[in-house]
Amino acid sequence: MSSTDISLNKDVHHAHDEHDHHHDQNFFEKYIFSQDHKVIAKQFLFAGIFWGFVGGFLSIIFRLQLGWPEATFTFLEPILGNWIVNGKLDPEFYLALVTMHGTIMVFFVLTAGLSGTFSNFLIPLQIGARDMASGFMNMLSFWIFFLASVIMFISLFIETGPAGGGWTVYPPLSALPQAISGSAMGMTLWLVSMALFIVSQLLGGVNYITTVINLRTKGMSMTKLPLTIWAFFLTAILGLLSFPVLFSAALLLIFDRSFGTSFYLSDIYIAGEALAHTGGSAILFQHLFWFLGHPEVYIVILPTFGIVSEVIATNSRKPIFGYRAMIGSMLGISLLSFVVWAHHMFVTGMNPFLGSVFMFLTLIIAVPSAVKVFNWLATLWRGNIRFTTAMMFAIAFVSLFISGGLTGIILGNSALDIQLHDTYFVIAHFHLVMGAAAFFGMFCGIYHWFPKMFGRMMDEKLGFVHFWLTFLSAYLVFMPMHYIGIAGFPRRYYSWTGFDAFNTFTDLNSFISIAAIMGFAAQLIFLFNFIYSIFKGRRATANPWHSNTLEWTTPVNPGHGNWPGEIPTVYRWPYDYSKPGAAEDYIPQNVPFSQTQSSNLPYERDLE
């Protein structure tokens, strides 16, 4: 803040402005400690892809264990070292694997990687701003995230292993270092890393909100914003309200672990010896955690709502169906996301009446979600659909969102949850609706905006191969999980062959694991396509998808400040596709009505 010196004299700014444009940046200013939102977005994207591969790889290791519980994995010894004992995976390391898989995917890939990339990249470009409100805070946001990443990554390699108490880090397990090795140093690093992560998300989110509210170009009213911006805006608000609560919860957990307080701990015996902690409440942590945890799943999925809406409208060559209903449903979902957290806690012994209140509120979320699905399908209906890779991912997103969403209605019932809680049914549900779906939304965004990010196109043929393999394996992995979940197969179990009830699922588990390995291998095709296209891809034109939004009015490779000349003024909403009477099947937002007299609707004639 000390460098803030802003005078109110506008002339001074212009002089300063000119100076900035001609200022040659050195390598570090341009690519490392950059304050340019486009560079920061790419930094988040690269970090997100890196973490995506780490998180995916961890899941492959535990899928090996689940798919072939009797096999010996001596071939993994070079990678895992002492975590493989006589060819068998260490049970505590298995717990660490699922914990880190969840943490990495939810927070580092689908929160930081997704919002960090697309909010940073698209908000200034689509609302017509030179950059974020505070480039410095934006840079800080990435580098604090980077620090959090480094700490989390280091925790994978320490002797006692990374955190192992599940990604929800419920105490008392996570609070007592003597409980399992995953609650020792690894958990401390997890908490430190997450605390930094939260700071990074707050810095980023505050910036996104301020930029959307304050820096829209002339004519860009809130009801002319692309749905992407609405989605990023609401995501940032959710993060702003919920992440501080997780911070509080984590802080109290740190005190319990290291300073001898008893916020979450009470009357515990370890190895026959009573601990000094008394008077704490473990359920308290769950309330605090899920107050973040539930909005968090919307922080993951909302950005993809926006991305998919945008891509579906563009590639159907049709206006998005129900623009205002889309905004309304996102507002509804955001609001409801704060009053449903206890549906994660139906079996904690809560008052059944309270459970029914949370059940009622939870099931209401089906309404705005269904509105969104209906609108996507209605947008596709009789459109001139162009099956670009991005479009395929967008359509598949809708499919996954429906498949995963339906089981949400089942799980939201507090009575059914008694049977299904902590089974693979839950795993199948949330992986489809927020895991795979959010990944598909992210891929959709990468394929669609790659030309704007790198000035080149990604290869469509490789994109199709990547898409179909990913799509098939997503369903092949998660559909069978519903069945074993209904049978009561519990999550987080290292070994299940000892239970007669679950022995019949050996083949199904091997099948899931094979599909998962196929899905992971398909991502290598994406990685190759991504890196190859950055350097050798076909050169992009300024507006390759014939899209309406402002980012396509910039040069192919937008420089610092985005538009070389004046920022374009906005005259219309972003979805004027296939407008009857128009010369082309798209009219960008910066085209005034006076230039499109043949296609203007009666009420638009007044605006000519």
Partner: protein, 196 residues
Amino acid sequence: MDMVAKSLGEENNTGGVHPLKFTLWLLIISIIMMFAAFTSAYLVRRAEGNWLEYDLPNIMLINTVIIALSSVTMQLAHNAAAQDNIAKLRLMLYLTFGLGIAFLFGQWNGWAELVNNNVFFGGESSNPSGSFMYVLTGVHGFHLITGLIYVAVVIVSSLRYKVHSKSMLRIQLCTIYWHFLGGLWLYLYLFLRLNH
């Protein structure tokens, strides 16, 4: 922070509020959410019983008066800057800073009084009711230190004649933050008073 100046230069500020001021309000909201979490956790935990009741240190009432006074001096500093009364501005900023230090010192003494009454943060004889007390005052104290750093920054820039009626943003932000910290303490004090 160059970017703010630059974006503003485009004259397309649609919010009507300076982006940094808006950012500050958002950060304040996130701090409010943190304390909302702590205080609701306090209420939930208290309702479960096994809750040690103790008297709030008396010095905390004095601290409340001190921080209220510091809010007054901060506002006076702000008004002095608006009237280009540099001497009064500096005096009031010094007073604010001094009162802030006094508040922290008082809180420290409050903690000492708690320890003397056998109300501990952690350890065998601690109870969550005491631990919560330390967490609420401690996290507030941490934010107050960040506020003091900001006041110090404003003091330094006022010594360089950079705070005046045509350059008010810095002291405006500082004033907002300081009033917020005072208000937050008032809330915490009343909360602790009422829930004992």
